[in-house]
């Protein structure tokens, strides 16, 4: 069943002194529940603009976004209901949590805003969400600066899950984290996705994790989709020159050392 339709969306920014810039040019895709789509591309390719339009931080210049067949309401309770079903995890866990407020505040707000649970169950729900992202309950009364980057990103995920959304947009969720904890956060996301049947849009510049965690991959260049397909098809057998170039530029030690030993083997 189709959940989210991104239908020929174009976004044009007017930049002072530089005229108009097409951030997205006729981009279409659909996302189903239980599916992860990886959006890959360089910075400036428009991948973050997709996230902004989905979360309605920006509006599309033309085209339409539909959730369960209905276009996004412009404002009012309809828009709130749409937002309740689509939540975002931001790139920088150091910036996406308000330094002034406790972890509890961050998770409680969406619960109250969307009236997910009755008031007297708030505390229990916060505890459940923290457990869900493998954080101790004692974290609830900490403030963001007392947590590590990985813990903060888990809080951000708990906040996103609080309103019980159907879709999660994750914009480079691990690129600011230390290498050894990246997989942990990504695995958490993919477990949650499987268990809750979420549709996930995974935005990244890293081809390897995109392949690992997505069912399908969309390659974006200069606001246009240049290639799409199953993760293995796009990464292992790229057909578009741009994708091929991206593939070739990404570090691939496996192939690298294989080719070295081939060369040495051949020389011998």
């Amino acid at each position: 069943m189709t959940l989210l339709e991104f239908d020929s969306v174009t976004k044009v920014y007017s930049v002072r002194g530089a005229g108009q810039i097409k951030a997205l040019d006729d981009v279409s895709f659909t996302l189903e529940s239980g599916q992860t789509i990886g959006v890959v591309g360089q910075s400036g390719s428009g991948k973050s603009t997709i996230a902004k339009i989905l979360t309605q931080l920006e509006t599309a210049t033309s085209g339409e976004v539909r959730l369960d067949g209905r276009p996004i309401p412009r404002h009012g309770s309809g828009l709130r209901r749409y937002r309740q079903q689509l939540r975002m995890v931001f790139q920088d866990p150091f910036a996406s949590l308000n330094p002034y407020h406790s972890v509890r505040h961050h998770i409680e707000r969406p619960l109250r805003l969307d009236q997910v649970v009755p008031r007297d169950e708030l505390k229990a729900e916060v505890r459940r969400l923290l457990e869900r992202v493998q954080l101790p309950i004692s974290a609830a009364d900490r403030r963001p600066h007392e947590l590590s980057g990985g813990q903060r990103q888990r809080v951000a995920i708990a906040r996103a899950l609080a309103s019980r959304p159907k879709i999660l947009v994750a914009d480079e969720p691990v690129s600011m984290l230390d290498v050894s904890i990246r997989l942990g956060v990504l695995n958490l996301l993919s477990d949650l996705q499987r268990e809750e049947g979420l549709g996930v849009l995974y935005i990244t510049h890293d081809l390897a994790t995109a392949r690992h965690f997505s069912n399908e991959i969309i390659v974006l260049n200069q606001g246009r989709i240049v290639e799409r397909g199953t993760a293995d098809d796009v990464i292992l057998r790229p057909s578009h020159p741009y994708t091929q170039e991206l593939r070739a530029a990404s570090p691939d030690p496996e192939k690298f050392f294989a080719s070295i030993s081939d060369a040495e083997g051949g020389a011998r």
Binding site: Q42, S180, L183, A208, A231, A249, D252
Partner: protein, 274 residues
């Protein structure tokens, strides 16, 4: 020993705050002439402290508490870096060891043209050069890194991130140093630009024969470009071996853990071995 460029022995750095923080502990290694040595590890592991510390670029409260760093100059002299005075150190810098910094965005003075920032180096270290010679050298450098000499009057904000990093490489190359320390030089760049820059570094190394200490947390990248790799953790080198051995036969548990933190780009879907 003639092919050693830098010998580091029993090298320790602390940050002398209360309580003191041991940042780098008893490091021993030898850098060979012309090799690319990768320095890998996670944030806070001391890799940057080590790379800055050996050229004594760390500011107080950092203090070198033990060890020796000896630079085996091409002229045959051995220079004990720990023993240099302030003025000697100033003259030693950039002439023998230069650096490429992480954020090319902030590494260039925003209010001076890139040409004048390149000329600075000659003014200070080659006082005998005439103005015209300096200019000529700057144009040549910018041409070498494919920025183009006509760009010397540009200001940093007029260049793209990749261009700025090339300018930084040109600057590092200016005095034809024997060692270049590169601190995450491509982390902020897009993958295509990153690949271009890496290719350029490797070509320049082949042409000019300098050694490179390359710091990054991106192990897959390091594996492809380094001759040898040192894996650092909590201020110590846990493993130092050729890139191939690190890849095929890692000894330390931490190295194995780091390697398995990266999903595979190609091959069987899943994590990188182990």
């Amino acid at each position: 020993m003639s092919n050693a460029l830098l010998s580091v022995q029993n090298f320790s750095v602390i940050y002398d705050v209360d309580p003191p923080v041991q940042a780098v502990t008893k490091i021993d290694f030898e850098l060979r002439r012309g090799e690319i040595l990768g320095l890998a590890g996670e944030s806070g592991c001391g890799k940057t402290t080590l790379a800055y510390g050996i050229q004594r670029l760390l500011k107080a409260p950092a203090v070198i508490t033990s060890g020796s760093v000896v630079f085996h100059d091409a002229s045959g002299d051995d220079i004990d870096i720990s023993g240099l005075g302030v003025e000697d150190m100033r003259q030693f810098r950039w002439d023998k060891i230069s650096m490429v910094f992480q954020g090319a965005m902030n590494a260039l003075n925003p209010v001076a043209t890139i040409g004048s920032q390149l000329e600075d180096v000659f003014e200070v270290h080659r006082p005998n050069m005439s103005k015209a010679q300096r200019r000529e050298a700057v144009v040549e450098l910018l041409d070498i890194v494919k920025v183009g000499g006509q760009r010397r009057r540009s200001f940093p904000h007029e260049l793209s991130g990749g261009m700025r990093q090339r300018v930084m490489i040109a600057m590092a190359l200016a005095l034809r140093p024997q060692l270049m320390v590169m601190d995450e030089p491509t982390t902020a760049l897009d993958v295509l630009v990153q690949r271009e820059i890496l290719r350029q570094i490797s070509d320049l190394r082949d042409e000019f024969g300098f050694s490179v200490i390359f710091i990054t947390h991106d192990l897959p990248l390091l594996l492809e470009i380094s001759d040898r790799i040192a894996i650092m953790r909590e201020g110590e080198i846990v493993e130092l071996a050729t890139a191939e051995r690190i890849w095929n036969n890692p000894q330390d548990e931490y190295t194995k853990k780091l390697l398995s933190s990266f999903p595979r780009l190609t091959g069987e879907k899943g994590l990188v071995k182990r």
